[in-house]
């Protein structure tokens, strides 16, 4: 596999003693779109800030296209563009100057044609001589994207790119991300919206409490989404099941009232008929039968729950 970023045993303890990242191991493939999915405070910003060189790691290593991001920081950082989470931007510079400034910081010669095209792609060209303080929030975010792309990076980090962003910019952003991916740029975005990860990513890494809980292909996660559950409620408590059901993967709750059968809804034979028949033959009277489909959100909440997160931190809200 061709990894453009390789993170090994990365840990970050902030000065106040807070352990924001605990032994992170993560490989990011060249050219993929990876979503870092996790609730607020999970450590997403810390992780990408550490890769970008804004936060120093406490231990562990990060290789960016083979370059150690501390010892060989120049080679590593040249490849990276970062759009921060907050609208951290100057006030009195013009759009054109601030984008050119970033390009220069990354050691690149002036290239007015490239900047012109970039500003046009981001619908910023007619604002190029405006001072930053005159721009709306959405426009400022566009400028931040232009700055991050000003030196044509091979890796782009987008930290919560759609937080508080209007539909049009969101569409533009996904269009740009797709275009970048076509040209081989690796894109890493952080989000706490599941839909967002689902919509755009190739792979999804779930992070919470400074740990990566899962990294999986989005399509494989979608297959898990294909898993259904049949839930059978009994009238009377049942603690032993017919022998004919030995080969089923079944769960009964503590009170013996609810039976859960997990099956693959896409399979030819789901085994539902035989299950219900056997229950009937065994004389068990059923109170209710229903099916549920686990969503990515359920998977996520499960993961996060087993990690012991407070209920109010669950990323339940939907994007606007």
């Amino acid at each position: 596999m061709d990894n453009i970023i390789s993170i090994n045993d990365l840990a970050k303890v902030y000065d106040n003693g807070f352990e924001a990242l605990k032994t992170i191991n993560l490989d990011i493939e060249r050219g993929e779109i990876l979503a870092l999915l996790g609730p607020n405070g999970a450590g997403k910003t810390t992780l990408i800030s550490t890769i970008a060189g804004i936060v120093s790691p406490s231990s562990g290593t990060i290789l960016v296209d083979g370059h150690d991001n501390v010892r060989d920081y120049r080679s590593a950082r040249k490849l990276i563009g970062l759009v921060p989470q907050e609208l951290t931007i100057g006030a009195f510079e013009t759009v054109w100057n601030t984008v050119s400034f970033t390009r220069g910081l990354f050691g690149q010669k002036k290239d007015p044609e490239y900047i012109t095209q970039l500003l046009k792609d981001l619908s910023l060209y007619d604002k190029k001589d405006n001072q930053l303080r005159m721009l709306s929030g959405g426009m400022k975010r566009r400028v931040l994207i232009a700055k991050a792309l000003s030196h044509a990076p091979r890796i782009l980090f987008l930290d919560e790119p759609t937080a508080g962003v209007d539909v049009e910019l969101r569409k533009d952003m996904w269009r740009i991300v797709n275009k970048l991916r076509e040209s081989g740029v690796t894109v890493i975005l952080t989000t706490h919206y599941i839909e967002e990860a689902e919509e755009i990513a190739d792979r999804i890494a779930v992070i919470n409490h400074g740990e990566i809980l899962l990294v999986e292909d989005k399509t494989e996660l979608m297959q898990k989404l294909g898993k259904k559950q049949l839930i059978v409620e009994f009238k009377e408590p049942q603690f032993s099941l017919p022998d004919s059901l030995k080969d089923y993967s079944l769960d009964i709750d503590d009170k013996g009232l609810v039976l859960t059968y997990t099956y693959d809804a896409t399979a030819d034979a789901t085994g539902i008929t035989r299950l219900l028949q056997s229950l009937g033959e065994a004389g068990m009277s059923l109170k209710d039968v229903r099916t549920t489909q686990s969503s990515l959100e359920d998977i996520f909440v499960d993961l996060v729950h087993s990690d012991g997160i407070a209920a109010n931190e669950q990323p339940k809200e939907k994007s606007a």
Binding site: Y14, D15, S49, A52, G53, I54, V55, S56, Y73, R74, S75, A76, R77, K78, I80, L82, P84, E86, T88, I89, G90, F92, E93, N97, S100, F101, T102, R103, G104, L105, F106, G107, Q108, K109, K147
Partner: protein
Amino acid sequence: MNFAAIRVIYRAEMQRAINTLFQTLASPVISTSLYFVVFGSAIGSRIQTIDGVSYGLFIVPGLTMLTILTQSISNASFGIYFPKFSGTIYEVLSAPLSFFEALIGYVGAAATKSFVIGVVILLTASLFVDLQIEHPIWMLTFLVLTCVSFSLFGFIIGLWADSFEKLQIVPILVITPLVFLGGSFYSINMLPPFWQTVSLFNPVVYLVSGFRWSFFEVSDVNVWTSLTMILIFLGVCLAVVSWMFKTGYKLKE
């Protein structure tokens, strides 16, 4: 070396001064003129010459030093404090750029601004008095060294400060007294012996004395001593900055 980065930082910092060119230049010109009207003409006419130099002329080097010290510190400290405060420093931190390259950009720009202001003050002064410069090379050396080392000092303050109060406290509590007690407006030989000795611990005394010597060949301390002292100050600032660099002091988490 990432020269492109140094250039854009330098240029952006200079642009800030150019955008506010009027304030940048008007304030030193006006205050210098006021000093001349008050001290040079009104009061100065009643003060006898000091070491054979008329009072109006005598205060020119000290006045220039007073302004470039304050300007260097406030320019350089604000230049680095503001991006830190607003968060835009993330860009510089994530760029393929060493701390020293950033330093050259920021401190270079602050020192340039102070130098220009210093020259403007001397030009303004020459409208009021007949300014002669006995040792132009020494004069430029002192001017440049002061602009650079105090811009560096300002940069350190800007890095250290985590509030606007701290940003202003050093100039107000330390620099202003040192400058006023540093012989800008008098010769320290005019002080009682005890205070003369105390003054020798004031680094500004050496700056003003050396700078004044380059104009009139009169000085409180030997010119080489002055040069040595300012080089030591520069060395200390460089050492502090290197230490800050090694520890990532207050820039990186």
